[in-house]
Symmetry: C4
Subunit: 210 residues, 4 copies
């Protein structure tokens, strides 16, 4: 128990269940990706060709899997610095999990549009993916901002300033997704997709702060 | 371990596994909502229009997601006041999780009826949703009533009176859902839907007691 | 940590992760039942009739839900008496979870056969359900027997004799399911279904031992 | 808390959440197998025949279930020897979970090809399964190798040498899967399947080291 009598009066409580709930949600998300990996419909003898033709689904699976693994890593890095949870932090966390839930949806639409190869749909799907990506960064910005303003929630040995700095990472992510969406919609969808794959790598390398 | 030798003899045991089981069930529920968010069937070039036409599914997803987040918050607020679990509390908790499980079902039926826009079906779906909503409040009433009658289960520093007061919140919820269902069935479905969205907000604002 | 140096040498380890893995598996099972509760296909204006016609699915959902809640309760009652896990206990537990996994499958087949109302299929489905039910009791018999033979795994203050007695409950369950299956196949399926619903109630009332 | 101030500076942290996240992912995988066990389409009166005809799905379900149970057992055996997690170990663990996620996919394809009984597709499916199996062993090799090189992550009373030896088990697995895939593709698919079933048994018997 990390909470004091003062925490109780202020409605703050132990972070244990928030961590286990978030672990549960993120582990279900990461495994639900598997459901999109179904055995392909194939003519007798045509299994190999059908498997190869499914490549956009594999790519979508891999990139969403890695992204959720990175989100979990950032979540763990943030919560180890947290001592107790209050009502506002609960909703900032729930909002972030909600934005994460939209990622598989946007990924499935992008993979489908690429497979059908219709230029209008690919542009729509790239813009939708960029929108979801920037929403996700905005939800992290809100979480980091809330923590930077509430030093009473921070664990001993850590500082609220860490979260003030983290806001820059999240704000940068929003900007990158908007630029990628605009480039993908107006110029070249493949350019946007390259950026989409690069962002999780960046967020991974900087998960303990810039 | 919060349990004493006396608890053992009375068949009372640690709350840890009940919390982790409930966290597991609620985190699977909240993520299974994602399964209703599938890429729409669309003509080539018609992805954007098809995405926009799916709006009732998005609304259903968002409101059920928020409702389950609120249920989890109320669950955490109740269980932090609990010291040990007995047989009756186990079943009150399992009953509440069961009523929660009906929520996605009722939401999917409501979203489907709104999309087809048949007046008879919309009225049926609104009444069904109100029925499930009042069942859910009734399951909380039972949980709170049980705790108010069993002070031996309450953690040190908390009082059974808290749960006696909480019963009013749950009873109020039952009444509101019955009124909303009757209004939606007889007068205007949209009026009922406005009430459906307002109840989780009310339950969130009062999750630490009235 | 409940394990000693002697436990380490014998390959015995803490029960914490076995409990959390089992909680995870059982909470996913209990929520996957929801997937069988889908909005029915209905003609415009025919939603109410279509919902009512789905009653076997509701009954199947309710009874499987209650059964898995009872299994979890028995699991908790057994594991609170356990100090450490060894290799044999791991597989007895995994075997029990596997038998539990067959329950939703058998329930869905039974509900489907009842809905189509073909006498031959109903008898097949009743026999299959009875087979799965007796397998499940057999997996508990194995778990209880293993624990009764390994007092070194039992927690302080509890006795291996408890598990020796528990074997009778499990063996009784096997016999009841065989009788119910034979009655349902040869005489009357509804009689068997009454017994199927009674068994979880019996296992609930006796979950702390006869 | 197992972490020291020095661990904090080096970005190492408690293993608790990594264990609970892995338990969550593996418990969802093992239960998602159930989704492939659907009631068969059957003519009235033909339920029994349809159930029997589904046998490859049952076999696929059973073998994947056992394999994931063995993976969990190996994971537990490895993590009880670990004191703290660092960035590299996180990704080795996430990589192993990813390879595990491919197992149900490969199993479903193998079961489908066996049911359709087309020789070309069976050979493709056997080769795919062998590829996934060797990827999975390679992911364990990476995990064990990483741990053998980082004694600062090992718990007191255990030795990094244990993981150095474990690498042989994983390397042997890669070799076996390559041989099984080649035999299955060139000679006899059933021979490969016998090897596929034998590997989890071997990995179970040796989960505490050779």
């Amino acid at each position: 128990m990390n909470e004091t009598q003062e925490d109780r009066l202020a409605g703050r409580s132990d972070k244990g269940r928030t961590e286990s709930f978030s672990d549960g949600v993120l582990s279900v998300f990461i495994t639900l990706m598997v459901l999109d990996l179904r055995p392909p419909e194939a003519e007798p003898g045509g299994l190999l060709a059908a498997l190869i033709k499914q490549w956009p689904a594999y790519l979508a699976y891999l990139s969403s899997y890695l992204y959720i693994a990175v989100i979990w890593l950032n979540h763990k890095a943030a919560f180890k610095r947290i001592r107790v949870i209050d009502h506002g932090l609960h909703w900032a966390n729930v909002g972030m999990l909600f934005a994460t839930a939209l990622l598989p949806f946007a990924t499935a639409i992008l993979a489908g549009a690429l497979r059908r190869d219709d230029p209008t749909d690919v542009r729509t799907a790239v813009a939708l993916y960029a929108l979801v990506g920037s929403l996700l960064c905005a939800s992290w910005l809100r979480l980091y901002h809330y923590l930077s303003q509430h030093p009473e929630l921070i664990a001993q040995g850590y500082e609220a300033r860490f979260f003030a700095r983290e806001r820059r990472r999240a704000a940068g992510g929003i900007a990158i997704y908007i630029v990628a969406g605009a480039l993908g919609y107006q110029v070249a969808p493949l350019l946007a997709m390259g950026i989409f794959l690069a962002v999780p790598v960046f967020l991974d390398l900087t998960h303990e702060g810039l």
